[in-house]
């Protein structure tokens, strides 16, 4: 069968302005540079630009009725790929052949106008997504029903709660009838019940023989929704095929996340002009790096960062997610004395210890950030910074004791139990 989307050796180049590595810029240099750029031709200004390939040599096929998940860490080129397929931007190399009408939902509520009512926005948004007035009128009641906003139909959307806003936006997009539906992270918002409804709708859409392309960070959603997946890393395809295999490749392999990752030679270093991330490590209590941990043993997560400016105060934060993307807990630095002190320039390391008998079995993914508490500001954050696997060996000393079947739950603490006869 002819594929409905054929991506062939696709490449996308961006020109980024070259950042000056000098710690300070002299006024004299600025002026001379300005003069140089005024009097010289294009050749000279090209020197300040740098090519950056967001996608390189990407090829894959999508068949009719496939639900394809596109996964990869931030900056891997997922959004660029969707933008090209949705015709928002043009490829620099290669080509895409599409046999059908495409509708894309790259952002929830694109084109919604705050001052307009829900009713007015349904028409406006529908038109933006490519529906005709007749189509919108036909689907109007269905859309209102799906969004559960009938009471607020004539209220400006600026008065809507964020949940209502998202519901309405998704409802309009969900009632498009394209051959190919492209969705980027659109479901990351909204309450659980509505997310479930959205997923149901997408399944229904693909059930009618339509093709879905779906980008998400939530592996659980991808694995439930998609039958195929494409893994991108640094603009290239690393794996394609069956969803579960691709997700496993992503989570397990060293290019997904691992017990150690450093940013010293990377292009996009998380950070700002005050502090920059250098390295993340997951280790046992002797600081030995490991990928796999006994459930009963404590686990340390360390981040190294460089302070570039004297005299600032900031603190650290970690979040831990499971393989399904569920947030297990957040931990702010509430104990280390350094969190309240003025920093001087230099390299620091901070470690958080998670006790044994706390995580459940499975892959744990680490999010980290450096934040300023007052006024609140995130200096940098990095999702999927590191990952490790927790294993319960069923020796009888964990919460599992000797029970060998599935033991559900997000965490698995070993708690004190007391039983007495009264």
């Amino acid at each position: 069968m002819e594929p409905i989307i054929k991506v062939e050796k696709l490449g996308k180049k961006y020109l980024i302005n070259h950042e000056d590595k000098e710690p300070y810029v002299a006024m004299r240099d600025v002026i001379t540079n300005k003069f140089k750029s005024v009097f010289s031709s294009k050749k000279n200004t090209q020197l300040h630009k740098e090519e950056f390939w967001a996608l390189k040599d990407v090829s894959f096929d999508v068949n009719v009725g496939d639900r394809v998940g596109i996964i990869g860490r931030n900056g891997a080129g997922k959004s660029t790929l969707l933008k090209i397929i949705s015709q928002v931007t043009e490829p620099s190399l290669g080509r895409v052949v599409i046999d059908g009408r495409v509708a894309s939902l790259l952002e929830v509520g694109t084109g919604f106008h705050q001052e307009l009512t829900g009713r007015e926005n349904i028409f406006l948004n529908g038109a933006i997504l490519g529906m005709t007035k007749r189509e919108i009128e036909q689907k109007f009641d269905e859309i209102v029903d799906f969004a559960e906003i009938d009471k607020f139909l004539d209220t400006p959307v600026k008065r809507y709660s964020s949940g209502m806003y998202v519901r309405l936006a998704f409802a309009v997009a969900a009632h498009l009838e394209p051959d190919i539906l492209i969705i980027d992270e659109a479901l990351a918002v909204g309450d659980a019940a509505f997310q479930k409804k959205c997923l149901g709708k997408i399944e229904e859409v693909s059930g009618h023989g339509r093709t879905v392309l779906f980008v998400s960070h939530n592996m659980d959603t991808v694995s439930r929704l998609c039958n195929k997946a494409v893994l991108l890393k640094a603009g290239t395809v690393q794996a394609t095929g069956n969803t579960d295999d691709v997700i496993n490749t992503y989570l397990r392999s060293d290019f997904g996340t691992s017990a150690r990752r450093n940013w010293i030679n990377e292009r996009h270093v998380p950070g700002n002009d005050i502090v920059k991330l250098r390295e993340v490590r997951v280790h046992d209590k002797e600081f030995v790096l490991q990928e796999t941990y006994d459930i009963t043993k404590p686990i340390g997560v360390s981040m190294d960062y460089e302070v570039l400016k004297d005299g600032d105060v900031f603190t650290h934060s970690f979040k831990f997610y499971n393989q399904q993307g569920a947030l297990l807990f957040t931990s702010h630095d509430a104990t280390s004395p350094m969190r309240n002190q003025l920093r001087s320039k230099g390299i620091y390391t901070t470690t958080v210890w998670v006790p044994g008998n706390f995580f459940a079995e499975g892959t744990i993914i680490v999010w980290l950030a450096i934040i300023k508490k007052d006024p609140f500001k995130i200096y940098f954050e990095e999702a999927d910074a590191a990952s490790f696997t927790v294993v319960d060996y069923v020796r009888g000393d964990s919460a599992r004791e000797d029970y060998i079947l599935e033991l559900p739950g997000l965490v698995r603490p070993l708690l004190q139990w007391q039983t007495t006869k009264i």
Binding site: Q87, V88, T89, R95, V97, D99, V102, G111, H113, E120
Partner: protein, 287 residues
């Protein structure tokens, strides 16, 4: 297959104008949005569409009066100024809106595919409606001063079309440049502020031709070249034409200048669309 799309670098859409036609619904809804939003959360709402031109007319009358600018015989000064202020205001607001249209719809451009030309063109509708409302002032003035126009008034749409061309042509160039260099956001108000005095709003172009040589050289003779240069402003033909439609034979029009001005109008329109089409594919990457 019938609706196969091939996305390639530099691929030219064969159906450029046909695509725009299929998206006419979006044109309608974007214009409708701009109209609905126009006077939200204002106390007097649509009255602004009358108040703003009325105040500008008063101001321009004052300027015209202070300079003792000559008005054709039998034409009240306020009617004379009004006939130029209305098309000028239409141009100024349409030009300003078109110039900012792309960056104010940046989220649409970077997230959704549709013919980009729809955005700037649809913003003109609001200015057109404002213009239609402001014509009410002209009608009232003509009734007060018992000034009856002749059949030439039917030609007004022709000159409005040229005003539209000017706003779109120059606006598209600035809008496109605006995507990359936000400097133009600050240049547009300057052009509008300056333009009202460069264009024959408070003075007739005939009066400019008479007074300019006196001011510049102390003689009453103005070389043809300078007359032609003044007509490079494409709004000269629009305003002169508009006045001619309403004031009739009392208006003196310098025909070569008028034709130059019309030609500049057409040139800007072609240039604007050409530059827009040349650049539009990179909008989403740059904006």
């Amino acid at each position: 297959m019938n609706n196969r799309i091939v996305l390639e670098p530099g691929a030219k859409s064969k159906n450029y104008w046909k695509d725009i036609w299929t998206y006419r619904g979006l044109f309608y809804f974007l214009a409708w949005r701009d109209i609905l939003v126009r006077y939200k959360q204002t106390a007097i709402g649509v009255v602004w569409s009358l108040l703003r031109p009325a105040i500008t007319i008063a101001m321009m009358c004052f300027v015209s009066w202070v300079f003792h600018a000559q008005v054709p015989d039998g034409v009240p000064r306020v009617v004379f100024v009004c006939t130029a202020t209305l098309p000028w205001l239409f141009f100024a607001s349409a030009f300003g809106d078109v110039s900012n249209s792309l960056i104010s719809n940046a989220n649409l451009i970077s997230k959704v595919h549709f013919p980009r030309l729809i955005i700037p063109v649809s913003t003109v509708v609001v200015s057109l409606i404002d213009f239609a409302i402001s014509l009410f002032i002209l009608i009232v003035l003509m009734i007060i001063f018992r000034y009856a126009p002749d059949v030439r008034i039917l030609l007004i749409p022709v000159f409005m079309l040229f005003a539209l061309f000017n706003a779109l042509g120059i606006g598209l160039i600035i809008a496109t440049l605006n995507v990359k260099y936000r400097d133009f956001k600050y240049i547009v108000p300057l052009i509008i502020q300056f333009g009202v005095y460069v264009s024959p709003v408070a003075f007739s172009s005939d009066y400019v031709y008479q007074r300019l040589p006196v001011i510049l050289f102390g003689s009453t003779f103005l070389p043809k070249v300078l007359k032609g240069m003044y007509s490079l402003n494409p709004m000269v033909a629009v305003i002169d034409g508009f006045r001619w439609c309403i004031l009739g034979s009392s208006m003196v029009i310098y025909l070569p200048g008028f034709l130059i001005s019309i030609a500049v109008s057409v040139l800007f329109t072609i240039l604007g669309i050409w530059y827009f089409r040349k650049t539009e594919k990179s909008f989403a990457d740059v904006i």
